[in-house]
């Protein structure tokens, strides 16, 4: 009996570090897909609304997590309808601050690469991207993903000096663990 108990506690101790390394609540890991609407503003007025498809896969990685996302935007016009897809994969690692994650390989912001960081707060994962263009003008984008069971609400906001402000809202559902 004593041996069994010792074996049980040894197994528990061995498992604890693995659990402690999980950066996100377990529910975030998996593949989610869904759709939403993109609203673009100009001078405070809504000038464009487009449907969008979303795919996001969040997986565990060394000392953090990896987020891969793909967005497909539909432009629907007579004889000019088109699809535009964009995708990105970012590996985040734990920073010195609780709940904060930086890029595994940080970009050179002033040199033209984007800088990413992320924060986890309860069931919400925020991913930030700052880009500085060739003229030194900036654009900030934030993806806020809130988990609700197997459903994920997405709010994307873009602001800055290089493009028109945009808000995208959508809902994704888990399609794969």
């Amino acid at each position: 009996m004593r041996r069994l108990l010792i074996a049980f506690f040894v197994a528990l101790l061995a498992a604890t570090p693995a659990l402690a390394q999980d950066a996100l609540p377990q529910g975030f890991y998996g593949h989610f897909a869904g759709l939403g609407l993109s609203e673009t503003m100009d001078d405070g007025k809504l000038v464009e609304v487009k449907p969008r498809d979303f795919d996001v896969t969040i997986s565990k990685s060394d000392n953090g997590f990896t987020v891969s996302w793909k967005t497909t935007e539909y432009t629907i016009r007579p004889r000019k309808s088109k699809l535009e897809a964009d995708d990105e994969t970012i590996v985040f690692v734990k920073s010195a601050r609780d709940g904060m994650y930086g890029e595994k390989t940080p970009g050179d912001l002033a040199g033209g690469e984007s800088a990413y960081w992320a924060r986890v707060s309860g069931n919400t994962l925020d991913v930030y991207r700052l880009t500085v263009n060739d003229e030194g003008r900036h654009e900030l984008a934030v993806w806020q993903r809130t988990l609700n069971g197997d459903s994920m609400d997405l709010v994307f906001q873009r602001s800055g000096e290089t493009s028109k402000p945009r808000v995208v809202k959508g809902t994704l559902s888990r399609v794969k663990q």
Partner: protein, 177 residues
């Protein structure tokens, strides 16, 4: 004859390519000591949404880049509020992109230190600082200085997670080269 034409075309192409950068004021035009004042407006302090400020700045070109030293004296208007004085110096170096500069300090923004970059566009020198707060929220501060016949106009803005929390408009006079 043919060589002369080729040279002329090459010169024309080169001059067209350089014209955008050539329209920007050289860094030397911004050098000097400037003094002045302005009015601050913001929602980050309910007791003095309008504040008298001094906005002294010194710009020193150095090795292709420049140093900016600025002093802000916050007089306040609320009873019992102390006068505060704050001086900062940031060094900037050139990047591969014309008229875009980066702060020299090796900064990890996730540690809470500001990441600086700057750009010259026309007669305007803009300095930006990105700070990431402990909860992941970002603060983007910009000092936009436009040359005038007597000195420069300053627009200072602070955004917190995309929302304007403070802005200052000021006029500065050049008091020393």
């Amino acid at each position: 004859m043919l060589i002369r034409r080729i040279l002329m075309i090459a010169g024309l192409v080169a001059s067209l390519a350089m014209s955008a950068a050539a329209q920007d004021a050289p860094l030397a035009d911004f050098a000097g000591v400037y003094k002045g004042g302005g009015v601050a407006e913001g929602r980050d302090n309910i007791y003095f949404t309008v504040t008298a400020r001094d906005l002294d700045v010194e710009i020193k070109p150095k090795d292709g880049g420049f140093d900016v030293t600025w002093t802000t004296i916050n007089h306040g208007t609320a009873r019992g509020q102390r006068v505060s004085r704050k001086t900062d110096t940031v060094s900037f170096i050139v990047t591969e992109r014309p008229n875009v500069f980066r702060g020299t300090a090796r900064i990890e923004p996730l540690d809470g230190e500001p990441y600086y970059w700057a750009r010259i566009s026309g007669r305007t020198l803009s300095v930006y600082a990105l700070t990431i707060a402990g909860n992941g929220a970002y603060e983007l501060t910009s000092w936009v200085r436009t040359l005038t016949p007597t000195g420069m106009d300053l627009t200072f803005r602070r955004l917190s997670d995309g929302e304007a929390v403070r802005s200052v408009r000021g006029k500065l006079v050049k008091v020393a080269p």
